[in-house]
Amino acid sequence: MADLSYVIYDFQGGEIMNETFVLDGKETPFRPGQTILEAAKNGGVVIPSLCYLKGSTPTGACRICCVEVKGARSLMAACSTPVTPGMEVMTDSELVHKARKMNVEFLLASGRHNCLTCEANGNCRLQDLAYFYKITELKFPEKPDEDIYPTEDINPLIVRDFSRCILCGRCVQACNEVVVNRAISQGYRGVTSKIVTGGDLPYHESECVFCGQCVEVCPTGALTEKKAQGLGRHWETEKIRTTCPYCGVGCQQWLHVKDGKIVKVTAVEDAQPNQGRLCVKGRFAYEFIYSEDRLKTPLIREKNGFREASWDEALDLVASKFKEIIQKDGPDAIAGVSCARSINEDSYQMQKLFRAVIGTNNIDHCART
């Protein structure tokens, strides 16, 4: 019989975990089917990963998650190895750290990882790992310039900087298995490997629909939002959670804000309903709020066009005109259309104004369209 002290309730799966394995010497519960990477979290151990993407098939491409498994001949990729009962896993051994460090050194040499000029500085998993392993110099010869593909910045929204691409394949997983737009894949072979669209065309000439999911999951600065360039470093921005202003799905967004200005928008991971996804509108169509065309002051019609007015003047005019019409023609001579894009509280106030103050039910909105 399983030791009941290890029986814990896992909220995500809603199942009882009553099998155990040995994680860094400690008996740890797991759910059948969990990988080492997932099961390690049950014991509070976070194994570093680069290519692993939750919800898609593990590719085992980066080997950063390698761990020692007793009895195995080589190190195992934690993200793609399922746990078995009694398995003994070491995540913190010298062998493991040596291998991980070497992997990071390889990746650093595989492109141009000069963080100073990188948009992802401060928000890069490769940088974090290099820092953790105290890597201060390149151990391996750097990839020659002629082997690095030129940066694509002619599409309107996403910069593809191949010099920072570590070919982890997360973008490919996201595009094909998460949002299923099937726009990109692993192309070519060996040193010429590249993440490509069909026909290796730029994004805007391909099947790409600019959902930006690939940007969302890229662990380095290989894929970044063009409009965010130079507007603020990761550590300078504050994250504010909000709801997308466009369609009725209600996706949850992080607004990255610096000095009261939105620098970029990303998805809230694990949030309902969108589970870390956004579409092109939710991710890239936010700066209309800063447009110079915004209405900034009340306007009153004159013979030839509009003139600026104070709030008091404009509101007094509206109120007195309404009162006059109510008196002359009754409240039903006034009608209002509310806004299906604005917040609930605004619609509530408008219908209250019409019903309780003006005295008519002539209030509607464009739900009919």
């Binding site: 959902c211 369609c247 804000v257 900034k296 009162k323 039903d332 008519t360 509607d364 009919r368 369209t369």
Partner: protein
Amino acid sequence: MTNSFADFMKAKMIMMVGTNMSEAHPVAATFVKDAVLAGAKLIIVDPRRTEMVDFAELHVQLKVGSDVALINGIMNVLINENLYDKEYVDTCTVGFEELKAKAMEYPPERAAEISGVPADMIRDLARRLASTKPAMLMYTLGITEHICAVNNVMSCANLQMLLGNVGFECGGVNPLRGQNNVQGACDMGALPNVFPGYQRVDNADARAKFAKAWNVESLPDKPGMMMPTMLENLPTGKVKALYVFGENLANTEPDIRHVEHCLESAEFMVCQDIFPTETTRFADVILPAAAWSENDGTFSSSERRVNRVRTASLAPGQAKPNWWIFKEIAKRMGHDWASNSAQEIWDNEVSVLAPSMAGIKYRRLENDGIQWPAPTEDHDGTPTLHKDGKFTCGLGVLKAIDWIPPAEVPDQEYPMVLSTGRRLYHYHTRTQTGRCEGINVLLSEETADISAADARKKGIADGEMIKVKSRRGEVKVRARVTREVPEGLVWMAFHFREGNANWLTNPAYDPITQTAEYKACAVRIDKI
């Protein structure tokens, strides 16, 4: 929606009717695609070959506006072949005998004649639908933008009840809402017949309750005008003043010329918006409003989830929150309202007055929001309505429904059908997306989408400027020759003022909801 987006990914069988989900609700579409990758079956009912058809095992390419006939045909097969959920129908619904009698008038052959879908495909479709339980039905404006909107919606509900699919996870009848807060605007009572929380204005108890809360002696008891009626009554003088909050009626309503004539006739018009639009041109007073990220507040999504909206930056110039503007007008008309923030409005008024939202308070909305009904503060919300076939109002009502053709059908002069909708990159009249860098590059002008067959017939090349003409107007627009549309159909959107489909659309309305028939009118196309 009766169900939740979380169900989409887990569904085993999905039927999508009149929804171009990958463009209009792209994130929702990703969940459907995930479901298909995990083995779900997808059936698409749509006159157009939308992108999602790539993922479907069956594309039922019906004629525009023939949904009721098709669904009656499906139900005919389900009943005749005894494939429907008899137990569910017996215990959870009423009206089966009437429905059956009506369905018997639509054998697959007749349904085929009307819908253009082969009779055998109708049989096949019915059998497939009955083969997996529960099946999830989703629809969008392809169902509602018709003069038979209500009939179409009820047909979808009929079908799902007959199959015993309402009231279960991964089942239900699920309309995806177009705007972020259409659901919320309805919930808040921005409708002529109900107070917040769908309490009817013609109910004396409801009126007494709201009159007390709002500190007034009485409230009007007669349902008010719907928007199309308001517009119609501007030229007649029955409506003198129109207050337009945030809607660009001059571009979004059918038959732009007529709409502009109506707006012009207003004696006094107030517009409250964040940008000057085609509509504000007609205003006497324009009030500048705070926008989306300049407000604290809530939106309610298609899945009835109340989500928080938070302030990221200040409104420009003197622009003010909309709720403040309404409060100030009320004050000037002799009413002092206590609530002085969106949170106070919600916590102290909305959730107190609307029983289905009584348990929703701002402090409970920090993370994922709550799906109403949530009647008490310890209620976690309701992901699935009518749980286990127990309908809120007793038994589910099956309705016998007849098919009617669209108000305007093709003839010799106007031989093609125009249907309209939305495209991925822009949102409605582009007041917002049109002002975002990059988006206009991805879609810079309107097109008229036509089939290769019609292009050939008319000698029109892809990308050529053509003329599309209806009884109401004509536009010059670039032709886009695509396999998405079948022969005889022209498809357009209304994102751009030039080439806006609404110069052409027909202001014919569903008699009950007054939804306009954006999805069908008669046009002709010509080379220029």
